[in-house]
Symmetry: C2
Subunit: 160 residues, 2 copies
């Protein structure tokens, strides 16, 4: 153990503080968002993201594999979310006419409405928890840093 600490030193104090704050954010922020969305809309933060992404797509339609990628999801996970959404008539699935291996998911009117209903409070919560505590400059800096980290993590998950 001592030997390992020599070659691969631990985080220094500043790094420790940053790391602890990041851990709290990645653990507690999703928990807070989930609780509010679950209570007020009966969906998870992740499910909200799926609805939002689909609604932004052309024709509100995407291939599942593309949707999974932009939502940072595995395919099995998204598949099961789609099962739930289809059961509630929020989306419809059909094979891609051009290539039968792909599946196209389309947001229905009911799905769009569900999103519209849950959006205002969710957005307000995001603003309250993430944006309100920061100055404009801090937001800029945070955006820059997070974008870099996000890109690195994405590569990690795709390559690993």
């Amino acid at each position: 153990m001592m030997k390992l600490m020599d070659t691969q030193p631990w985080l220094d104090d500043d790094q420790q503080e940053l790391w602890q704050a990041l851990l709290t954010v990645v653990i507690a922020l999703p928990a807070a968002l989930d609780r509010q969305l679950q209570r007020e809309a009966g969906i998870s933060n992740f499910e909200y993201g799926v609805l939002a992404r689909l609604s932004m797509a052309d024709e509100a339609t995407m291939r599942l594999s593309d949707l999974a990628r932009v939502c940072d999801s595995t395919l099995p996970r998204l598949s099961k979310v789609m099962d739930r959404f289809e059961a509630r008539d929020w989306v419809v699935r059909r094979p891609d006419p051009g290539d039968g291996r792909y599946t196209l998911a389309t947001l229905t009117g009911a799905g769009r409405q569900k999103l519209a209903e849950s959006a205002p409070e969710h957005v307000a919560q995001v603003k309250r928890l993430v944006f309100d505590p920061l100055s404009a400059a801090q937001r800029r800096h945070l955006g820059t840093a997070l974008t870099r980290i996000a890109a690195t993590v994405r590569r990690e998950l795709e390559g690993g």
Copy 2:
């Protein structure tokens, strides 16, 4: 509710970008850490955090409720983690002599060893994913912003 939408509508473009990056980080970063730790040590990122926190405590001993708070965990969740840890002889639980309602958890030698084994690669991964992509100034700014957000989110979860 309507009032919120009037005064604070959707996120603007810069906010959208920040928000998307933050979503990727809170979703994909834990996933990446979990995968590596699971593969190489058979534990989750959360479990690693519990071991690490305990090891830092005086006598490697903490009340479960205190441990839960610093790990941003619920008590049921931590209780089940402790079941697993006790089954592997990584911790022992005993009632607090001073107040029988509290339970003290102590890290055993085996538990400390498990932590020491998994630490180097985990720390290296954290450095690679979080610190390496950033300049020194960016790290400082990120730390400042995340600390503020973390404090806000903590208050949210305790108060809600």
